[in-house]
């Protein structure tokens, strides 16, 4: 059950979400690029997510939607 959805086409690869995630379950998707030419951020473990929304709070581009 996805708690966090990433709108990958809007991601600019700034990395701030990865930095603030308290569970350290975000990373850059090394194996793909979005239309803007960035490696978009992605979640590695939906079950470990606590829906704190720190990632979405610091994301400047509204890439992340968080559900609980």
């Amino acid at each position: 059950m996805a708690k966090v959805t990433f709108r990958e086409d809007r991601c600019k690869g700034c990395g701030l979400c990865i930095e603030v995630c308290p569970k350290k379950i975000l990373r850059f998707a090394e194996e793909r690029l979005n239309e803007k030419g960035f490696n978009p951020a992605e979640i590695t473990d939906q079950d470990a997510c606590i829906s704190c929304a720190f990632c979405a709070t610091i994301c400047p581009d509204c890439v992340i939607t968080v559900e609980k």
Binding site: V20, T57, I58, P60, T65, V66
Partner: protein
């Protein structure tokens, strides 16, 4: 499943042109969240500046006027005096508000103009490629201070919140930052407080938001948040610089 976080309605569903990690995106969103929560999108009129956020008219869903460089508080005054029951806010950078627009900023505060100003302070001129701003720090290297800002040539940075707090007309002035999740939440509360002051017709509010410019500071987004914390916060301490909200009854008809 309930939604805990999503894009606010008042923020347009478009890709924004800002650099990766630029805090404009966060601040725009906070303003839009406040507009949604206060249910004022229909009555809000934004005034956007010249600077990186010149195209903010594409990013907010409310009516918007583009202002000439520095003149947003005057434009906002014109709008607010015609529509005193509408919510009018300006969104301005450090060149717009504290260089060319200093007079308009000071006099809107002096008149206790019933508007809210969101002041984005990133200590540099972003759009034009990284020149010194009035808020650039002593020693800071910029395109027009390639050897670092020198006191004997370029003088000292300007502390806008402290300066405006000294004016009788200003009702609520707070300096916040968007460098951490905790500070972002404080920043949002401050913005909401400013809009509430306006809604209650209690005069002039300004929220100074310490922000980053990774591109022109020559750092990555994460490093730039650190630079903000370690350098800008010393010159520009966070906090409430003016709060006489209780002393101001509804003073604008």
């Amino acid at each position: 499943m309930t939604v805990v976080f999503e894009r606010p309605h008042a923020l347009s569903d478009v890709s924004m042109h800002y650099c990766p990690g630029c805090t404009h995106g966060i601040i725009h969103r906070l303003v839009a969240e406040v507009i949604d929560e206060m249910d004022i999108e229909g009555t809000t009129i934004a005034v956007v500046p010249v600077g990186c956020s010149v195209m903010a008219y594409n990013y907010f869903e409310c009516d918007v006027q583009e202002a000439a460089h520095g003149r947003a508080p005057a434009v906002a005054t014109g709008i607010k005096r015609v529509h005193p029951d509408n919510m009018v806010f300006t969104y301005q950078g450090d060149g717009d508000l504290a260089a060319i627009g200093t007079a308009e900023t000071v006099h809107a505060a002096t008149r206790s103009e019933n508007i809210t100003i969101i002041f984005v302070n990133n200590a540099i001129y972003g759009m034009t490629g990284g020149q010194m701003a009035p808020t650039s720090l002593v020693g800071q290297i910029t395109q027009t201070t390639p050897y670092g800002r020198k006191i004997e040539t370029q003088g000292y940075p300007i502390n806008v919140s402290e300066m405006l707090a000294s004016l009788q007309g200003s009702t609520y002035i707070e300096r916040v930052s968007v460098d951490s999740v905790k500070n972002i939440k404080t920043a949002k509360a401050a913005i909401k407080k400013g809009f509430t002051v306006q809604q209650n017709k209690q005069g002039f509010s300004l929220i100074e938001v310490l922000s980053t410019c990774p591109t022109n500071w020559g750092m990555d987004p994460s490093e730039s948040l650190n630079w903000l914390r370690e350098n800008m916060m010393k010159q520009y301490p966070l906090g409430v610089y003016k709060d006489i909200i209780d002393q101001r009854g509804a003073q604008h008809e």
